[in-house]
Amino acid sequence: MAESITLQKKARGERPQYFADPAIDKALSITLALAGEVAVLRDRIDTIERLAESGQSPTRAAVDAYVPDAGVRAARDAWRDSYLDTVLRIIHQEREELEQRAADTKPYAAVIDEVEAGG
C-alpha cells in the first residue's frame, strides 16, 4: 500500500463572509453539502434499480463500478434540476416575488387604495 498523500483543502485567501452572522455562512455550506449527498444516495438507489432491472446482482462492487451512459446521465440531470427546484424553493419564491415587483414596482398599499376607492 503506497503512502497516502493529503492535498491542501482550503484555498489560500480570505473567504468572503456573506451573512451578518458567520454561523449562517457555515450552516449554508453544510446544507448544500448535505443536498449533494442526498443526490449521491439517490443516484446509488437508481444504480441499484437499473442493475436489478437488467438482471445483474446489485453488489457493492457492481454499484461502485457502474458507469452511467448518456441516457442515464441525461435522466439524472433532469432529476437533479427538479430536485434543486424543490430544495431551493424559498429562493425561487423570492425570485418570483422580485420578478413581479420589478415588473410592477407599484406598492401594494397603492393597490389597496385603488380597490378601496372602488377601482
Binding site: L7, G13, L28, S29, L32, A65, D77, I91, L98
Partner: protein
C-alpha cells in the same frame, strides 16, 4: 471504451482520474448545482436590482447607479444577491473538493502513469523558477494550491484536479476535451488569416494543455511549444498529450521572460492566461511576445469580454469573480485597451485587434448566452485580442 464521439461527457484520456460511481455522482451534483444557479437563480439578481437595490441607491445618493461599480455598491447589501453569491462560492469550493477526493485516492498511480509517458513530445522542468507573486498571493479561482504547489515528489495532483474541475466548471460546454477556447481561437485565426501557416507556435500559460492540443491538429506541420509556471500541471499535460498521441514541447517558464531565442514563433497564443497575471506582468508578457514573434507573426489572447462592451449590469455580474472567486486581476484585466497595450509594448497599435468569435463547440441548449460570474463558457463566444507584428 468511451470514444471522442460522446460529446456529453469528459473524454477519458490515459491520465484522467478514475471515479467510483459515488465520486462521479458528487461531481455531477456540483455541475447540476452550477447550471441551476446560472440558468434559474442568477437571473433573479437583475430583478432584485431593479425592484429593490436601484431605488434604494437612487434615494440614498440622489442619482441612479450608472457604472458597474455603482451597481456593485447598490447590490452589496441585497439579500437575494448575497445568498446567490454565497451559494455560488460554495459551488466552487464543493467542485474542488469533489475532484480532490478521487485524485487523492489514486495519486500514486497517476504519478506512476505520468512518469511512464513517452512519445515525440518533451517535458522540461525548472525547479529553480520563481513562482510569480500573483500566483503565490491567493489560490486563483479557489483551487487549493494553485497550479504550482507540489504535495509530493513528481506531483501531478493539481493537474489532475484542474482537468476534472474545468469540465464541471464549464458544465461540459467547452467540449469533451475542455478545448473550446483553443478551438475558437483557431477558428478566428483561420477565418481572418486564411493563408497563415505558422511553423512554430507557443501557448503561454497552457496549464494541462486543454487548448494546446487543438493546435497540433489545426497546423499539423507546425512545432507546438507550451509553457506554464506550474510543474504539476505540466507533468500532467505532458502525460495527457502523449496518451492522446499529440506532440507538444512543454517547459516550465514564466511568460514574462522565457529562454526562447528572438523571433522563434509565428504564432503566440494564450487562453484565459491574462486575467491571472497583473497589470505589470501582462505588459512584460506582451513585450516578450514582441521579442519572440517573427515579422508578420500573431499574438492572440482569449478572454471574456471587456466591461466597456457590456451593459453596466452585465459587467457587474461578470465582475463577480474579482471579489468572490480569488481572481484579483479579473476586474482590471477586463479594462485593458488593446491598442494602448500594443503601443506601450513596442507594437504598431494600428495592427492590434479586438474580436468576438462564436464558440466552436456546439452546446446551444445549455448556454445562457450571458457573460456572468459562475457561468463560464455560457456566453457562447470568446473575446480575442492581440496584435500582428
Amino acid at each position: 471504451m468511451q470514444t471522442n464521439q460522446d460529446l456529453s461527457t469528459q473524454f477519458r484520456h490515459g491520465v484522467l482520474p478514475q471515479t467510483t460511481s459515488d465520486e462521479f455522482s458528487r461531481q455531477e451534483f456540483v455541475k447540476s448545482l452550477k447550471f441551476h444557479l446560472a440558468s434559474k437563480v442568477s437571473l433573479g439578481n437583475q430583478n432584485a436590482f431593479e425592484a429593490r437595490a436601484k431605488p434604494a441607491f437612487t434615494k440614498a445618493t440622489g442619482g441612479a447607479p450608472e457604472t458597474y461599480a455603482d451597481i456593485r455598491r447598490a447590490m452589496s447589501d441585497d439579500p437575494y444577491y448575497n445568498f446567490w453569491s454565497a451559494m455560488q462560492r460554495n459551488s466552487q469550493e464543493m467542485m474542488w473538493k469533489s475532484v480532490q477526493i478521487p485524485v487523492e485516492r489514486q495519486l500514486p498511480e497517476l504519478i506512476a502513469k505520468a512518469g511512464e509517458a513517452s512519445g515525440a513530445g518533451t517535458l522540461r522542468l525548472d525547479p529553480e523558477m520563481e513562482i510569480p507573486r500573483y500566483h503565490r498571493g491567493v489560490d486563483i479561482h479557489c483551487m487549493p494550491g494553485g497550479y504550482h504547489t507540489e504535495f509530493t515528489a513528481d506531483d501531478v495532483a493539481n493537474g489532475a484536479v484542474y482537468d476534472s474541475a474545468v469540465y464541471i466548471y464549464a458544465m461540459g460546454r467547452m467540449g469533451p476535451l475542455n478545448s473550446d477556447i483553443g478551438d475558437t481561437t483557431i477558428a478566428w485565426i483561420k477565418e481572418n488569416h486564411p493563408d497563415f501557416k505558422p511553423r512554430r507556435i507557443l501557448d503561454m500559460g497552457c496549464s494541462v494543455g486543454h487548448s494546446t492540443l487543438s493546435y497540433c491538429d489545426a497546423w499539423p506541420e507546425a512545432e507546438i511549444f507550451a509553457i506554464d509556471v506550474g510543474a504539476p500541471v505540466l507533468r500532467y499535460a505532458h502525460a495527457r498529450a502523449e496518451s492522446m498521441g499529440k506532440t507538444v514541447h512543454f517547459s516550465q517558464q514564466n511568460a514574462e521572460a522565457t529562454d526562447f531565442e528572438d523571433g522563434t514563433f509565428d504564432l503566440i497564443v494564450s487562453h484565459i492566461l491574462v486575467h491571472e497575471t497583473s497589470n505589470a506582468a501582462m505588459r512584460k508578457i506582451m513585450r516578450e511576445c514582441n521579442r519572440l514573434l517573427t515579422p508578420g507573426g500573431l499574438a492572440v489572447h482569449a478572454e471574456t469580454p471587456p466591461y466597456r462592451d457590456l451593459p453596466a449590469y452585465d459587467a457587474f455580474m461578470l465582475d463577480w469573480d474579482t471579489r468572490n472567486n480569488n481572481e484579483p486581476y479579473w476586474g482590471a484585466s477586463h479594462e485593458l485597451v488593446t491598442a494602448d497595450i500594443a503601443a506601450e509594448c513596442g507594437f504598431d497599435p494600428a495592427k492590434s485587434f479586438e474580436a468576438y468569435q462564436p464558440s466552436a463547440f456546439e452546446a446551444t441548449e445549455r448556454r445562457t448566452k450571458v457573460f456572468q460570474g459562475g457561468d463560464f463558457g455560457g456566453g457562447g463566444a470568446w473575446w480575442l485580442w492581440g496584435v500582428q507584428k
